[in-house]
Subunit: 332 residues, 6 copies
């Protein structure tokens, strides 16, 4: 594989296509403009400063564009950065699709579509089935390419669908273990619960909150989408099925303090909330553990009350005597 940003060594010079993840105009001490940049490719990201920026530079080097960057990897204040030697926009005949430069879900879109397809077959209730089909179809491009969050967990292209699928897998386990769960409702709620993020967020590249995202939030956005879809499908607003499905979406944050206007009031909504939290928690901890060595603690994880987590050292197996072995005998 070609060299990427994270492969560079100190003082190494390079020429790479990279995405401008951030680009902010600033005024330097000498009164001239410069652009404060963050470069990104699937391996990670590095900051850099483009000095003495002309008006033309400021206009073209904006967040979300792909550039051909010639530079040197340096160190500043103990943190790595890029010294920019030359930079120009990528041409049409070069790699220039921003989506090629962001981290991606560990499943292809086709794989994920297949799983969603199969799950929809299991949604045997007509109301849930028709609404899910209508809304997934309407938002399918965004659903399979957007991240599940601007930062925190599943903050990579395809993260939204991947997170949804992860919850569906847990939901299948729960359905098979406990009696009396309305599986179609649980699956339909799981598929729709975060779908409003396709409107709350700006997209997979240089992700920001939209105005609707900031002022309405993805719960209310999707709730209104469901009501509207039902209206168009001729489903009555008083239908219990419709109310339950809307409740699944509105209640999935579990607590009012977390932005759900209602706490879960049906079993399936309570379960969805737990599975959502479980999956997000595991992803956040695993993500943080990747960055530290065994025997160390992670940085504080914002989404988990700023807790640190410990990465255990490999167990040294005790000497090879009998008392130090796990017993193979039957206990009962």
């Amino acid at each position: 594989m070609a060299k990427q940003l994270m492969d560079l060594k100190l003082d190494e010079e390079f020429e790479l296509y990279v995405l401008l993840k951030e680009a902010k105009k600033r005024v330097a001490k000498n009164g001239k403009n410069f652009i404060s940049l963050v470069f990104q490719d699937p391996s990670g990201q590095l900051p850099g400063k483009y000095w003495d920026a002309s008006d033309q530079d400021i206009k073209q080097f904006v967040q979300g564009r792909v550039v051909l960057l010639k530079g040197k990897r340096e160190n500043y204040m103990n943190a790595p950065q890029v010294r920019i030697m030359a930079m120009r926009l990528a041409r049409e005949d070069e790699p220039h699709d921003p989506l090629g430069f962001v981290k991606r879900a560990p499943m292809t879109r086709t794989q994920m579509q297949e799983i969603i397809n199969q799950t929809i077959f299991e949604i045997t209730n007509a109301t849930y089935n028709r609404i899910v089909r209508a809304l997934i179809s309407k938002h399918s491009d965004a659903f399979f390419t957007y991240p599940a969050a601007k930062s925190n967990h599943h903050d990579f292209a395809g993260g939204l669908a991947f997170h949804t699928i992860s919850i569906l897998r847990l939901a299948h386990s729960v359905v098979s273990q406990y009696d009396g769960i309305d599986a179609p409702l649980l699956y339909a709620g799981a598929i729709l619960h975060d779908l409003g993020k396709t409107i709350e967020l700006s997209g997979p590249v240089a992700t920001e909150y939209t105005l609707a995202g900031n002022l309405l939030g993805h719960l209310s956005i999707m709730d209104a989408e469901i009501a509207e879809a039902a209206d168009k499908l001729g489903i009555s607003k008083d239908s219990q099925d419709l109310i339950l499905l809307r409740h699944m979406v509105l209640a999935h944050h579990g607590l009012l303090e977390y932005g759900s206007p209602e706490r879960p009031k049906i079993l399936e909504a309570e379960i969805l909330h737990h599975l959502d939290e479980l999956d997000a928690t595991i992803m956040m901890i695993q993500g943080a553990l990747k960055n530290v060595d065994p025997g160390e603690y992670t940085d504080r994880i914002f989404g988990l009350d700023n807790r640190r987590f410990y990465k255990p050292k490999p167990t040294v197996n005790p000497e090879n005597n009998k008392s130090g072995q796990p017993s193979q005998s039957q206990l009962f």
Copy 2:
């Protein structure tokens, strides 16, 4: 005016048309059924027990029906109650409209319609104007007859519109006092903020929460109604006006803990929240103060963190000497 429930004296016998506010089937110690009733007319309410109820009795004497009640006002455990001597359903040619037996707002529907009409003229923004018109028309009967709550404040027929109008009056004061407020947005938000209660609650008589009320809440209900109305009026879902108006409704409880999925993020939403709270607070305290004598404390008010309020005794003016008089001189 004819005698009403609250006019009755201890041991007084009477014959009155009254509403069955509550009617619950119970089993007595002797194994027979009886009906636990609450009678209501605009003056107030009294409980009573209908013993040895037949299946026919249980079927006809249900919550929300008007009856001709012959009884005697007695005392039980320090609380007044009715001993039922005879009871039958009111006939078509007698007073039988339940709405005639509940407390009512201190304004007529015509007066309230007039004020809403005038305010809509002041909503000069086309988006707000058209959505408000569409939704008030759609829900107008309920809007002018429903209470604003099952209990707490404005729990009388027409209370929803009356509360709305009260907030509009405060809003006009604020708009005239402070610069830079978007008056059409504030008025539109005020009119719509509680309109979802027409779906959240069951009606003006024997008011209960509906399933949608319990599982979705009036904020999300109205939010979806606005989105749907906008869709039908051809207003884009990305329109800033639409997003702001939905935000007014979603944010009006002010805090996530109070059921708003977003806290106010525009000036007008913050103001609406404060005026809503102020009007409800004054209504709750005034209602509680009515029931106590000067020098006493009210019962604990649930909606105000269970606080009690003191009703001051009339000020006894100090004797008529100069030092005891408010000065009439100019201070500055």
Copy 3:
């Protein structure tokens, strides 16, 4: 099956062996002693009063004894109760084992032992394996017969082991879905997490908290048991494995406010906390839903912040036209 307490009709006379779940001496208005009793069999429980109790009666009719009860099922204040006609202790040759009269887990002890056995084989880490074996052996009788709580969830004989097994099943699902989880640690923690309840609680019949339960709690009780077991097995107190395993137990309530002296600081402890909460939550909601009809709300559930849950009515399938059917077509 023989008639049980919950099968009795109003005014039905009966003679049954039942357990005295509660027995409290009281003084009646006439100054004589009576015993306030709660009778229990696997079908449920009913209260009754044993009037004019002699000293001998008070001495023998104590909580936890099985009696032959001759009585009549009556109603008092809308609640069913037993009028006691005659009552004597069950003899040795009659059913007299209290365990025969309490609700039981839906699995036999043998089935549960088998699952624990299999799981221990999967605990391939020697430290975890040996400690789990030692402690499960030491407390095995209690582990397989105690409830998981005095009330709330899994409050039936065998509930402790059943709850543990339920978590183990969820844990297996999680291990198979996510990479990088230390399965032996997760399974060992799951088996031990509530084992301290065998000391915290008094037993499967007429369950009470012990002094150690009240003053130490089952987390600290089991933590000390693990340390002691390790000491006897020659495992160093500084061993990372030992510290991690103790942490699994101490942190499993997740929050300091819930009695964990440390919040989870390793991935497996965080997962265990979530699975524990998920299983308990489902059990509590399912238990409450059993007592209500479709379309109704449960009583408030103490262990779930006093929330009520709605039991949906069966979905009425829309008429058999195409638009009302779940689609069978492929979405993608």
Copy 4:
């Protein structure tokens, strides 16, 4: 109007009279003293450093003095600052009154006195009237020149009186809208509620908290002032009027957590708390909105739980066809 600090351009040289808002002695890397300064005039403020400060410089260039400053407006770390070229204290015959260099309320003292005067006439209760007169007279200079806060809202000269008058205007609206409010008590409470800030704060220039402000707070300070004034006016300590008025002041922060030793226990105290909060909130949001462009969010507002507020873009009126116009027709 003469040039002011905020009118200066990058690299512009200037000579202006300005106030030293802050002046702190520091030691430079070279071991010599310098003075870290903040210059202020009614247009705003700018920082600067006075290098190589002699003992004489340190003694004369202190917070609260007016200086003639010769300097150049530069940029440092993206923030504007002043390079000091020369600086001397303003002479008696030059502008040297610090009050001339701070932001001021948008009303003159005379206008504000007039409004307070009129309101006192409406305080027809002798006790309230006499106490208000006594205390406003005692503190009148400070009342009309102090800010209402060190920072946050109304942090300008005259802000205390202006905030008080703003609340009085709202109070008049409320009195005219609702029955049963004791207007004299509400107005008297409104005038006195923050008057303790004349002792809590050091003054309108370079405002700091005094020792009494820090250790007692303006609520307790004014409460004791009222008690003392009543004593001197011969008003009994047990007078209900006196107790109510003291309660208005003590309870106006509404919650114990906000420093009120008692929550409001009379209607007027509850209303005063709401109006105080409403006025402060509007002022804080309006102040923050002034600093951002339409379509942007304000900085986090400390006094409003660190929330950001959105400044909407001007509504683009839809094309001039009928459906896009606010309707002029009568709704009812």
Copy 5:
């Protein structure tokens, strides 16, 4: 000692002078008035009902009067009560001072005065000394006879002074153990901290909150008293000593949520808060423990977050062998 209320046995007839601790007019089921009474003497209290009360009865048998009661001790609903056989007011020549019928502090007034006297000598700071003298003199009767609370801790005649003295004893220990504490300030603050209760409460008999108590609280009441006393003694309002002393009183509840408008900001105020809490806590627990047998738990203690406390059983000394004895050997 003469027989008292708590000495009576079931069905015992008696004739005793007792205090009417509570007396509330009620209407009986038959429509006639009765008085619901609580009788009190130093041994405890018993309820009783005075049936068919005439207007004259209602007028004379009021809370706080001493009566000669002829009655019989009965049982009602498992709780003891008095059946009143005859009752009249105590005459001037009989025991009729209510103070003779309430529980009293375990020290005489003279003893307590002596301790306060001695402590004042240790208050060597002139400001503290003079203010303490002035206020203790002004309120001395109430200070030595009032309880420290209506219920909770020190709810007996003289409890206020006794609680104060208890804190002074702890304060002396702290002063002797730690350097750098301003002892005069600590002692002065301790003496004054609850003195406002002489105005907050109605007195030692049938204690209620006064209007000032309810609307101002004893912290603000005493704060204003100190300010006024200082004014009369010619002590400047800006005196640091005065501000510190007022702060001691205002901050002694420690937290805003507990009614202190300021948290402690000097060492002595923080210490006073801790000692106040410690003394009250010990008194509440000891009081509750008195009512239960060893091996049992107390009722929930309201003032201690509704916790129950365990009363240990006496330690059974292990058999008299060496290993069971506390060692007499030197450890180091």
Copy 6:
């Protein structure tokens, strides 16, 4: 006494033995390694940077070593630091014991041992006595040399024993003042309450939390130690004495939020919690007050909810006239 770090003046050159309190490898802007150091002796600490560090330097100059440092005291960004001129490890024949370079408790180990000895004699209960002896013996070296915390209060060598002794002194005062306290239990609990810090912390020099400290906490660590010690001493796990003693340790943080798995449920545990908090609070405030001048406020104290404390100015005695003197007359 020889010169120490805190005695150095700006620009003074020196040669001193000092401890490396912290030593962290960093990469400089030029790509070379340097070591970021904190030097410590009993007078205090100063930072410094060791530039161009060789691998050998990095290996030897680690945290916890004593070095002979030749340097110059400079200023950087208003903060003092050391410019390193030369540095080498201290030799065996030079001062090289790290313990000689940290702050120490104001009592010798011998003095503290003596007090612990005497207290153990007062622990007349055999169970408490034997467990305390066993555990103090086991951990005596650490108990008398460790600090009580990494930072906050008693963060000096011997601080753990000193804090324990301070609590014991307070406990003696409380025992002598109040009846009914189990003194042996209180003293035993006080001695053991923080003893787990000998395992939670790494030692008196360059103190860090151990893995057990982070994942178990000193409460659970000591709880398990007590259980184990009891087991070895043949004390039954069900012994009330043992359970009470373990509860003393587990409950001493007072609140679940502070890491106690149980709140205090016996009088002695509640008292221990209060005394622990009182001693820690006084130490923290006194420590902070030492660093500021009279009339100033301390920095925010993390362990006290980030409060600042005021250090009063010395009282200026009022002029020598009679009214300004503390009265010498008897008050009562």
